[in-house]
């Protein structure tokens, strides 16, 4: 087939393709497109670090400058995956260092990152500009010190919800005086103290700083001084927001905040003195994003007062102590709202703080642009879900979590099948769905029938039989990730369509009815899947009975066979 365009032209055209999915599609067209595309791809996204090896990635994309890697399965977030399961970044950094990759950006999610990895990263890639770590673990502030000291052109250091051991080594002071390139600095998840004087000086000399998220150890008087130096901030995460509102410091804070007219995103408030909240009212009008989901000490009434000022909000993360009434205020104030997350404030009790279906219905009625929701609630009804589905046909992400995972509709005592059915039927663009409440096979029938764009489904304590899982596997053509816990799906469902799993990134099943024998059968039939059996309690090995049920199974497509770093309790069949 004739190639009408010289490579340079093709490359130029491909430059316009941002998403890795588009680039993947383009590289399948023909050999020459594949070739041009691979030499021009600079941003590489690897959704499962075990699906491919670093060497092969580098071989295919030698010009890679930005790498995104994801490690552990999603349920690792909820302590369902043992901590030594895997997901180590070191081999990737070593491989890139060996190959002389000019790495500028590294984004990791749910990976194990050691100080050694960070030190190697800092030493090997002088042009490193951006390091983003989300839900990672395994490193200490010593590793951060290495990054701060060595990465001369660092623009972004973004640490989100990582488990970091604090070594009290003044990592922040390791940014040299010559560091003036920072645009984004987020250390909100760190538990220890930072050198405040060093922080203030750092902010003062980094005039391009747009995003700054402090940890709880940074007191309000330091915040005030920092804001004076950085009125250009667009995104601010406060540290400890506690002070005497009658003090001089607080007044200074008020005037500092008023000068920060560019702030569009606000978060933090891990420690908060509610009487100090009025200082931020002036910037509320401009806020498009507000995260108060750690601020459990703010009373309902103060929250509502605050929300009244925030009419431009597009994203709101909040605790359920806001209550249904508070959500009503959100509904009437925040007409631009696109994403809402309501987190539980009381995980253990049967708190009266929680929200119910009323809040959700109010939001759906008041916020026409809503497309993404994560909602932890006390209860939900089918009627409410049906109403929500009618009000908001544009949901892309819909995650509902009832605090009691098998609670039925309290009005009708029925399962929530009809409610979720309405959601999937109405929201034709739905890509991600999490279910909870009492659910039978019926809900899966609906999902299989209607959720045509669904890519990720999370199931817990749901369904009656293998039919449920089969409806989903047969119906959802675009399914990429399926994660199931504590549901009665077994071997029949697992083995019905083994080819399906090569079209997906991964399948997780824990506390289901799947047996060792079925896992072995699957692994044998599908050599390009890694079928991992994770049994911490009773070690499973060659002598185990095939009829034994498997505690946890994680399978994923891969081009590189069983991984070599699996711990003892993980058996790749």
């Amino acid at each position: 087939m004739m190639n009408y365009f010289p490579d340079e032209v093709l490359e130029h055209v491909f430059d316009f393709l941002e998403s890795h999915r588009d680039r993947n599609a383009v590289s399948l067209v023909c050999q020459s497109w594949y070739r041009v595309e691979r030499f021009s791809r600079e941003k590489v996204f690897i959704g499962n670090c075990y699906a491919i090896s670093p060497e092969r990635v580098i071989a295919r994309f030698p010009r890679v400058r930005s790498l995104t890697l994801k490690g552990k399965p999603h349920f690792a977030d909820f302590n369902l995956v043992p901590s030594d399961w895997g997901g180590f970044v070191l081999p990737w950094i070593e491989a890139m260092a060996r190959s002389g990759v000019n790495l500028e950006e590294l984004r990791l999610k749910r990976m194990v990152v050691s100080d050694e990895s960070l030190e190697l990263l800092a030493r090997s890639f002088p042009n490193l500009r951006s390091l983003v770590l989300v839900s990672c673990e395994g490193f200490t502030t010593d590793g951060l010190a290495a990054i701060a000291s060595n990465c001369r052109f660092l623009t972004e250091l973004d640490l989100q919800e990582n488990e970091v051991e604090d070594r009290r080594g003044q990592w922040l002071s390791c940014f040299p005086d010559s560091c003036t390139s920072l645009v984004s600095l987020n250390f909100a998840c760190l538990k220890g103290e930072v050198n405040l004087a060093a922080l203030e000086r750092l902010v003062a000399r980094n005039h391009n700083l747009r995003s700054l998220r402090l940890n709880h150890a940074v007191p309000l008087d330091a915040l005030q001084k920092i804001l004076m130096q950085a009125p250009q901030l667009v995104d601010l995460g406060t540290g400890s927001y506690v002070h005497d509102p009658d003090s001089d410091t607080y007044n200074k804070l008020k005037s500092a905040v008023q000068k920060c007219t560019s702030i569009r995103s606000l978060s933090g408030f891990l420690d908060v003195a509610p009487r100090c909240l009025p200082a931020i009212y002036p910037i509320c009008l401009n806020l498009t994003s507000l995260n108060l989901s750690y601020a459990s000490l703010i009373h309902n009434s103060e929250l509502i007062k605050l929300i009244h000022h925030c009419s431009q909000l597009q994203r709101l993360w909040i605790l359920d102590c806001i209550g249904d009434k508070g959500l009503g205020v959100v509904a009437s104030t925040c007409k631009e709202l696109q994403e809402l997350r309501v987190f539980p404030s009381d995980i253990h009790g049967v708190g009266s703080a929680a929200v119910t279906e009323e809040g959700l219905v109010a939001i759906s009625a008041g916020c026409p642009k809503l497309n993404s929701i994560l909602y932890f609630c006390q209860q939900m009804t089918n009627a409410a879900l049906i109403t929500v589905a009618k009000n908001c046909p544009n949901f892309i992400r819909f995650r509902l979590c009832t605090l009691n995972p098998t609670i039925p509709d309290p009005v009708t005592m029925q399962p929530l099948d009809e409610g979720f059915g309405a959601i999937v039927q109405s929201c034709k663009g739905l890509k991600r769905l999490s279910l909870s409440g009492l659910l039978t096979d019926q809900v899966f029938l609906y999902i299989g029938m209607y959720a045509e764009q669904l890519e990720m489904l999370s199931v817990a304590f749901a369904g009656d039989s293998d039919k449920g899982m089969l409806y989903v596997l047969n119906g959802c053509k675009k399914l990429k990730k399926l994660e199931i816990r504590d549901s009665p799906f077994g071997n029949v469902a697992l083995l019905a369509d083994v080819g399906k799993y090569e079209t997906m990134r991964s399948l997780w099943m824990s506390s289901c009815e799947v047996t060792l024998g079925a896992c072995k059968t699957l692994a044998k039939k599908m050599p390009r899947l890694n079928v991992e059996v994770i049994n911490e309690n009773d070690l499973i090995d060659a002598s185990s009975d095939d009829r034994q049920k498997v505690e946890k199974m994680y399978l994923y497509r891969t081009l590189v066979g069983p991984r070599e770093d699996a711990p003892e309790f993980v058996w790749t069949l």
Partner: protein
């Protein structure tokens, strides 16, 4: 939570409009069209929340089993299972904990757990902190810290600017070097002491942290040379306490 007329009205037309049954389906689908679930005992065979609780936590879940597994025939519709309000027929089921439910990231879970144990700022314990040679005093809230180490770090931060003068030619480098600072504060040059409820000046670090927070009225970081008279009384005090 009131469960009653309001919700019934919501059901109204909307529910009948929505037809989710399959064309030409079987018995199962008849149930779907009616929007109800046939009482075929289809809840059986499912490993529900309750069973899991039994398996995982070995709790007696008779109460909770009754709450969620029954098919609704015997219960009045107004019954509120959740127990959040005074309307409930019986006390709420014990909220036992299944691993990973509700699905909240460990990071968030830990923060919330911490919050509930520290109880918030109604109980703040602000005390004055003076350091010999410093031009002015500071105040710290002892409840913000959970150990002597944390307090020491925070004090180090607060008073770091005052130690520049003592750093000699190494200057800024030493000042920024936290371990040197800690050495300074921990060395015989400086002794952290506190005034307790009885008005006595004590050496910081002798008693368990919680006891210290309860009894500390103010802190003083004194120069070593002045601390000589401190020790004997501190020893006496400890003896009296134990």
């Amino acid at each position: 939570m009131e469960v009653g007329q309001k919700r019934v009205n919501m059901l109204g037309e909307d529910e009948t409009e929505l037809r989710l049954g399959l064309p030409g389906g079987g018995g199962d689908h008849v149930a779907a069209k009616n929007g109800t679930h046939t009482a075929k005992g289809s809840y059986n065979g499912k490993r529900g929340f309750n069973e899991t609780m039994d398996l995982k936590l070995k709790l007696s879940s008779k109460e909770t089993a009754a709450a969620t597994v029954d098919e609704g025939k015997d219960l009045p519709k107004e019954r509120n299972l959740l127990g959040g309000s005074g309307d409930s027929v019986k006390p709420p089921p014990a909220k036992a904990q299944v691993v990973g439910w509700p699905p909240v990231r460990s990071f968030r879970r830990n923060i919330l757990a911490q919050k509930s144990s520290t109880g918030g700022h109604e109980d703040a314990a602000f005390v004055k902190v003076s350091m010999d040679g410093a031009p002015y005093l500071r105040k710290v809230d002892l409840k913000m810290y959970k150990s002597y180490q944390e307090l020491s770090d925070a004090l180090g931060n607060m008073f770091s600017s005052f130690t520049i003068g003592t750093c000699g030619s190494q200057g800024m480098k030493d000042f920024m070097n936290e371990s040197k600072l800690m050495d300074l504060l921990n060395s015989s040059d400086y002794v952290p002491s506190y005034e307790d409820k009885d008005g006595d000046w004590m050496h910081v670090g002798d008693v368990p942290w919680e006891m210290f927070v309860d009894s500390c009225k103010r802190l003083r970081i004194m120069k070593g040379t002045e601390a000589i008279g401190l020790a004997p009384r501190a020893m006496e005090k400890c003896k009296n306490r134990s």
